[in-house]
């Protein structure tokens, strides 16, 4: 039981203290409902990096669904809950199908358009009572006892908030949570680890919508009436403000942000008409200006300033790593035939052919701008050749996207380490084993994934141990030195237990001893049957390690052979040192 949970339980009991003003309780109810919506935004915006202005609109779906069920159709208010979740979830799926593949600001802008459209929809539909909305909703009741008292509502809201908090925390501490974290800046790495980015985006959007739907249902029965205004764009902006204010990456920040916004709002509504006369909408000025000041002064929000919050989650300790999958039968693991790639007028790769065998370390070298990185991207599915063929473990993999390549047993590291900033070292490594887990998001929320998680983390720990970084497992990933971040990338690749390992400049930034250890590890991996392809600039390292070398210049292979042969090749010497001018 964590501290925030204890605080929440205390908050549920607090309203029943004798002498507690009911007005405070009703403010607390507003805060609780808002915090549930803001918690969805923590997942969506803070963790997954997608900005949404339409959460209020989604909440409206929940609220109107609740009102239709309980008031228009006269069914039990409790039936309104699944209806509310269904309505907001379905709306999110439909919106998501249309807009989620858009990048950052297009997505945010389209949620503004959605926000405006939904408001006008609520205002103009007869069945929703147009501008007046629907009123006279029955209160919730338990065993015949009608929960009319605000303190009774507070219990329902408190329990909802608590359950939302636990569910969200569980979701974030699962393989899905790691995938969601990767949506912010780690997309390419996650895709290479086999994460389906579209699916992960939809998960974040729908999950946030479900929380908004729950909040809508609570709101409808607390107010006993539903009208379009609380679900418009301004309200949507306010929920985003709550999340940003509290600290968009932190769950408790949602409660903090909601509390500040609701209290300030209430205070402004009481105070400002006295100062400026009625009819002045000063809270919009304060919130709008507040948002701007906040982004300039404290872009990470207030929670990390208040609590020395470690975003690092606890993870299960397991002893048994996952068994290695059976190795492919083909001896030729990776084969490229006549790959061509041009960008506009520039030919980046011309007629590249190479093959990588089981148990082999192949070095791909060449001077700057020779086309190594492009070749590497073509081989790993990040980019696709204009012509030519890529075979992976006997399967034609030409044109396959990175996640499919991962399924076929390919793992890679990146030249610029692409670790996910919000995750610890071991969580980054566990992301590499994403495909080796099977738990669904629902299982994660219900914590039915613990055994599997333990195995995933044991696998990750083992991979970390192999690169010598087990001691750093719980540090934030981006706090490591650059060379060590590269090693974490290699561990992430190893966690997938790949048949083919592609490494982009693994030795850059490593100290001498670390290089020796890395070379020993790679030799050991090759001896166990893995095929290793590395692009490397450190000649000493690659010459002493690789079985064979392929040298590129101007996108074409200029030499291939053993390190000794390459060292003697005049073409290679000229490509590197240049002909004397």
């Amino acid at each position: 039981m964590t501290r925030p949970m204890l605080i929440l339980i205390a908050l549920i009991l607090l309203p029943w203290l004798p002498g507690m003003p009911l007005f405070w309780v009703s403010l607390a109810n507003q805060i609780g409902i808002s915090a549930i919506v803001a918690m969805g935004l923590v997942v969506l915006t803070g963790i997954a990096g997608m900005t949404s202005f339409v959460q209020a609109g989604l909440m409206g779906f929940g609220a109107y669904a609740a009102a239709l069920v309980a008031q228009s159709w006269g069914l039990s208010p409790w039936l309104g809950l699944p209806a509310a979740l269904l309505a907001s979830g379905l709306a999110a799926v439909l919106m998501g199908a249309v807009t989620l593949r858009l990048s950052g600001h297009y997505l945010a802008l389209s949620t503004i358009a959605w926000g405006v459209s939904l408001y006008f929809l609520f205002v103009n539909l007869d069945i929703l009572g147009r501008n007046d909305g629907l009123s006279g909703l029955p209160p919730l009741s338990v065993a015949g006892y009608r929960l009319i008292d605000v303190r009774a509502s507070a219990m329902v809201i408190g329990v909802s908030l608590l359950l939302s908090f636990i569910a969200t925390r569980n979701l974030l501490n699962s393989r899905w949570g790691r995938a969601l974290h990767a949506l912010q800046g780690g997309e390419v790495a996650a895709a290479s680890a086999g994460v389906n980015l579209g699916q992960a985006r939809l998960l974040a959007f729908v999950y946030a919508a479900l929380l908004a739907g729950l909040a809508g249902w609570l709101f409808a029965h607390l107010q006993r009436a539903v009208s379009p205004n609380p679900f418009g764009l301004v309200a949507g902006i306010q929920y985003l403000l709550m999340a940003v204010l509290g600290g968009a990456g932190f769950l408790p920040g949602a409660l903090l942000g909601a509390a500040i916004v609701v209290l300030v709002n209430n205070w402004l509504q009481d105070l400002l008409p006295l100062l400026l006369g009625a009819g002045v909408n000063a809270e919009t000025v304060v919130f709008g200006a507040g948002l701007v000041v906040l982004l300039q002064a404290a872009p990470t929000g207030l929670w990390p300033l208040l609590a020395r919050a470690s975003a690092m989650a606890h993870h299960p300790q397991g002893r048994t790593a996952l068994p290695a999958p059976s190795a492919p039968n083909a001896t030729e693991l990776l084969q490229a035939t006549r790959l061509h790639r041009r960008f506009g007028g520039l030919v980046a790769v011309a007629d590249l052919s190479l093959s990588l065998h089981k148990g082999e370390i192949l070095g791909l070298i060449g001077p700057n701008g020779a086309g190594k990185s492009t070749s590497f991207n073509l081989l790993s599915g990040v980019d696709h050749p204009d012509s030519g063929r890529v075979m992976l473990a006997g399967t034609d993999a030409t044109g396959l996207a990175a996640p499919e390549m991962a399924k076929l047993g390919l793992a890679r590291s990146f030249q610029h380490a692409r670790l996910v900033a919000g995750l610890s070292v071991i969580e980054n490594v566990a992301l590499g084993a994403h495909l080796r887990g099977t738990a669904s998001p629902l299982q994660a929320i219900l914590r039915r994934d613990r055994a599997e998680e333990a195995a995933l983390f044991a696998t990750a720990a083992r991979a970390l141990d192999r690169v010598g970084l087990l001691a750093e497992a719980d540090r934030p990933a981006t706090s490591l030195a650059l060379g060590q971040q590269r090693l974490v990338e290699i561990a992430r690749a190893l966690a997938a237990s790949p048949a083919v390992l592609l490494l982009d400049e693994p030795a850059a930034g490593l100290r001498h001893a670390e290089k020796q250890a890395l070379a020993a590890l790679l030799r050991q991996l090759a001896a166990s049957g893995m095929g290793v392809l590395l692009v490397e600039h450190d000649m000493e390292f690659v010459m002493s390690l690789a079985h064979r070398l392929v040298v590129l210049d101007f996108g074409t292979v200029i030499a291939a052979g053993t390190p000794a042969e390459i060292r003697q090749s005049p073409a290679v010497i000229e490509a590197y040192l240049g002909a004397a001018a």
Partner: protein, 342 residues
């Protein structure tokens, strides 16, 4: 039932409002290309100009003057804080002296009923400088922030300006005087003088912008900043000053749009938002990149709006904003969004 003359009237309405949306789309594309800011508050500048223009017809001293002066003072403080006191003189000139001079002129000219052209010019002069002031206050301190953070800041500015607009102008709407009351009858089509004026002014403004970008070195420098910020710095163009210039142009365009729209419809303090948002729909359809495409898209938006106002007036806004959906779908099918920015 719809007959030809109604259809022509609707088309005329659509083209007229589409032309204004097109102007705003240009401003949005320009500001985004140069500064990566999605200028949501452009709509407030439109409604503030329209209300100021309407007020000037009654000889009223512009109600936006305190706002202009306050923004100037705030921009001065923010600028002094950011530059730690460097070049305070030029900062004061632009943020304190210029707004004060405009305010002085406005107080003198407003009661004179100096004619529609002067009133329109004065309304633009009062509101347009707010755009560069807002740049100094809200966006200049965030030069390296992601597009998303700048967008959230822009939404914050929009929210604050809406509240300030209510404070300045009150909740009542107003309608400005038409430039011309002439009515031409061309067969089944009735052409209003105001429509001709709107189309003339927007075309002239677009031509002027085109000439500025294509022919002048300052315009080329602005384009260069949009194309390659680092390259621009390497030839000595300050991206900061380019940003300021882009906001000036956006302010002037928004001002012109406000004056053009004032006689066509009753404008409220918060009414500009929806107008601006339709400019956005056009700008987004054009991928926030192409000027001609943005203008074409704006005309489509205007016509769709006027036709849907006739057939399903309640759902007019829903329909207009839904135009965006097929376009977004098409865009998302065309290219995957992975790692496109940041």
């Amino acid at each position: 039932m719809m007959d030809l003359s109604i259809l022509l009237a609707l088309l005329q309405d659509g083209v007229v409002s589409g032309a204004v949306y097109g102007l705003l789309a240009l401003a949005l594309v320009l500001v985004f290309a140069v500064t990566r800011v999605i200028l949501i508050p452009v709509g407030e500048l439109v409604s503030f100009t329209a209300l100021t223009y309407a007020g000037l017809e009654d000889g009223q001293i512009p109600e936006a003057l305190p706002l202009l002066l306050a923004l100037g003072a705030l921009a001065f403080l923010r600028g002094a804080l950011q530059d730690r006191g460097r070049s305070l003189g030029s900062l004061a000139l632009q943020t304190l002296v210029l707004p004060a001079a405009i305010a002085g002129c406005a107080v003198l000219i407003a009661p004179l009923h100096a004619g529609i052209a002067v009133q329109a010019g004065l309304a633009i002069a009062v509101v347009a400088p707010m755009a560069p002031l807002l740049y100094r206050i809200a966006f200049r301190p965030l030069p390296e922030a992601s597009v998303l953070v700048k967008l959230i800041a822009a939404v914050g500015v929009h929210l604050a300006l809406t509240g300030l607009g209510l404070l300045c102008f009150g909740p009542e709407g107003a309608r400005g005087p038409a430039f011309s009351d002439a009515v031409l009858t061309l067969g089944p089509m009735i052409l209003t003088g105001q429509a001709v004026w709107v189309i003339f002014c927007t075309t002239a403004a677009m031509a002027a912008l085109w000439a500025f970008f294509r022919l002048s070195l300052a315009g080329a420098a602005l384009r260069a900043t949009a194309i390659n910020r680092r390259g621009a710095r390497l030839v000595g163009i300050s991206p900061d000053r380019s940003g300021l210039l882009a906001f000036w142009l956006a302010g002037l365009i928004a001002g012109l749009s406000g004056v053009l729209i004032a006689p066509l419809t009753t404008v409220y303090y918060d009414g500009g938002f929806l107008i601006g948002l339709k400019g956005f729909v056009a700008a987004i359809i054009a991928g926030l990149g192409s000027y001609p495409l943005a203008i074409a898209a704006a005309l489509v938006v205007g016509v769709v709006e006027s036709l849907s106002a006739f057939w399903a007036s309640d759902f007019k806004e829903v329909i207009v904003f839904s135009v965006i959906i097929p376009v977004l779908l098409w865009r998302s099918l065309r290219h995957c969004a992975v790692g496109e920015e940041e």
